[in-house]
């Protein structure tokens, strides 16, 4: 029984790590969870970025 639980944990950990590294390596995301994952909360405020559009 214990082995089943551990098996699940290991698979979950492995898969999570793999997908997290993939997302991190894409250079699109700060937290490794994708933009939908945290609704851009890794930014302090999305709106500030537009403040610089004075080109």
């Amino acid at each position: 029984m214990e082995f089943i639980i551990v098996g699940v944990i290991v698979v979950a950990a492995g898969y999570t790590l793999y997908s997290n590294i993939k997302k991190q390596a894409s250079g699109d995301c700060g937290c490794g969870n994708g933009c939908k994952g945290c609704n851009h909360s890794c930014e302090i405020k999305p709106s500030i970025k537009n403040n610089n559009n004075n080109q």
Binding site: N20, G27, C29, G30, N33, P46, N50, N51
Partner: protein, 587 residues
């Protein structure tokens, strides 16, 4: 699927409207060929809204304007949503006159009508709608008023599709002349020459003598809130709940299971994830503070007063904003550097961004500060942030005179009116931040904790004592590098190594290999001096994989490698100085 293009000047609440319409149904990508962000969101899967960058006109040569122009011409746009500031229509309408050239139906969303009314502005919507040939919807985006009207209008396709007025003008002068006449006929401005509240506030905020101390004072206040008054105390409470209640409870529950099984669960998972999660209050407190400051409009003033100083280090005051974003996370900060004028500005800013201590490092500071500098947490952490800023100045000057010589570029920044941040939206954003943090804990920190647990309990012969494990072997191998820095131990070395995945993991890893009651264990491995040296190292060394990947994506391999290397070297040197000079001074 109906496609709507969302356009408007910066600072008129476009993003607020966009978020209100699409909720979390958004995707962010890139416009092909340029480094301008492409944001798409959906309403009920029936309407696609493409959020274009905030622009003032369609013909002034910037990337943002080019991208918008192209999209409107070739992107199968069914309707344009043009959001304007009702309280300062003339400049906003310039863009509107240009948008009319694309012959698409336009929904003119008048935002901030509450401000307009309070300024004594009285707008005849019907007449304006008729004269411009657009559908008009007044809203107050920050309060959510009128959003449902916009949604309804889009879903019902209830817009004006024909217009007799083509509004082609020879130049800006003609366009503005038309706008002035138009506005005279549809608005009724009651005389207000009274000095606005914003101006009164600015008289104080931008005052010669007060400006800088006030700025640092505000930041310090936020830190007090985070570390002394609210954030840290709550974190301490959670920590004692974890260690004094939850862990013993779990231990009893698993008493009949194999020791390795309960160890995996308790020392590994709970130890790792738990030791990070307890810092949620600290993260939320800091985030809330900075969001408040930013929502109020103060940050634009900060960029303004910082400009002259920043020019000394080779940047413009506009680079200040990406640097501030960097206090949250370096990834969006590096991305927002795209909006700076020149390539050199962008590269230099991107190199300095990671020196702005990101959110993820906070749990490390909070933990060590509460253990080794109890009662002085605010001071210690604030000094770390200042160190990052100070070093950024220094490195900026260094790079400016060596790698990035260039001429100055023109600079314009708009200073929006001050406003009291909307509590509801502040809280929602802060909660979103909290969810993101917890998600990070449940994913990357969880998986690293499991791996660290395995590596720390096994070697080739099977399950062993931690000091003979794989992990110990790896740690002992890299340890020598840290000996001159005062905090060398194989465990600390491993913790720093795992920090490359996410900085919070430094705490998580320590929670696994030292045990979750870090407050009691850490004094055995650090002194206050070596702790501070360690914190300086954590502040400065190579950031997480995400950041390196973003650097690579935005500026190429060479820059990415340079960035991660120089930070490692800088961290080592600064830690070395702190520990060794400190040792001499302290005797």
């Amino acid at each position: 699927m109906i496609t709507a293009a969302l356009l408007g000047n910066p600072n008129v609440g476009k993003t607020t409207l966009y978020n209100a319409l699409t909720g979390s149904n958004q995707y962010v990508g890139n416009w092909a060929g340029v480094t301008v962000e492409k944001k798409e969101g959906f309403i009920d899967n029936k309407i696609k809204i493409v959020d274009l960058p905030g622009i003032y006109a369609m013909d002034t040569y910037s990337n943002e304007e080019k991208v918008s122009k192209e999209f409107l011409q070739n992107g199968n746009v069914d309707v344009i949503i043009n959001i304007v500031d009702a309280s300062s229509l003339d400049r906003n309408l310039y863009l509107t006159t240009q948008l009319k050239q694309f012959n698409k139906p336009i929904i003119l969303v008048l935002n901030m009508v509450d401000v307009a009314i309070s300024k004594g502005l009285d707008i005849n919507y019907k007449l304006l709608s008729q004269k411009l040939g657009v559908k008009i919807i007044p809203i107050v985006a920050s309060k959510g008023t009128g959003i449902s009207d916009v949604k309804k209008c889009l879903l019902k396709e209830d817009y004006i599709t024909t217009s007799s007025n083509s509004l082609k003008f020879k130049d800006e002068k003609e366009a503005y002349a038309y706008i002035e006449i138009l506005l005279k006929s549809v608005t009724n401005k009651k005389n207000e020459d009274r000095v606005s509240i914003s101006e009164k506030i600015d008289k104080i905020v931008l005052n010669r003598i007060i400006a800088y101390p006030l700025f640092f004072g505000c930041l310090f206040l936020i830190f007090m809130f985070t570390f002394s008054w609210v954030g840290q105390p709550l974190a301490d409470f959670l920590s004692s709940l974890l260690n004094d209640n939850f862990v013993p409870f779990l231990t009893k529950l698993l008493a009949n299971n194999s020791p390795w099984f309960s160890s995996l669960l308790i020392d590994g998972i709970i130890g790792g994830v738990g030791s990070v999660v307890v810092f949620l209050p600290v993260i939320l407190a800091l985030f809330l503070g900075i969001s408040f400051l930013e929502d109020s409009g103060y940050m634009a003033r900060a960029a303004f007063i910082m400009d002259k100083l920043m020019r000394k280090m080779g940047l413009s005051g506009k680079a200040f904003i990406p640097l501030i974003v960097g206090f949250g996370c370096s990834v969006p900060a590096i991305m927002s550097a795209r909006t700076l004028e020149s390539d050199k500005d962008r590269k230099l800013t991107a190199l300095l961004v990671p020196l702005m201590s990101c959110n993820a490092r906070l749990p490390v500071y909070a933990l060590f500060a509460s253990v080794f500098f109890h009662g002085k947490e605010t001071l210690v952490v604030f000094s770390l942030y200042l160190m990052g800023i100070g070093l950024a100045f220094g490195i900026g000057i260094l790079f400016k005179n060596t790698l990035f010589k260039k001429d100055e570029e023109p600079f314009i920044i708009e200073l929006p009116e001050y406003k009291l941040p909307e509590p509801k939206s502040l809280l929602i954003h802060t909660w979103e931040k909290g969810k993101g943090f917890l998600k990070k804990a449940g994913t990357i920190i969880f998986s690293i904790s499991v791996i660290v647990w395995f590596l720390s309990n096994f070697n080739t012969t099977g399950m062993v004592d931690i000091n003979s494990s794989f992990l110990a072997a790896i740690g002992k191998f890299i340890n020598p590098v840290f000996i001159p820095l005062g905090f060398a131990s194989w465990q600390n070395s491993i913790a720093l190594l795992t920090g490359l995945m996410a900085k919070e993991v430094v705490v998580g890893t320590m929670g696994v290999i030292y045990g979750s009651n870090l407050t009691h264990v850490l004094p055995n491995y650090f002194t206050p001096l070596s702790a501070f040296s360690f914190l300086a190292f954590v502040l400065l060394y190579t950031p997480c994989v995400s950041v390196i990947a973003t650097m690579k994506k935005e500026y190429g391999n060479k820059m990415a490698i340079f960035s991660l290397s120089y930070q490692l070297v800088l961290a080592w040197i600064v830690s070395f100085i702190i520990f060794n000079v400190g040792s001499i001074i302290l005797g």
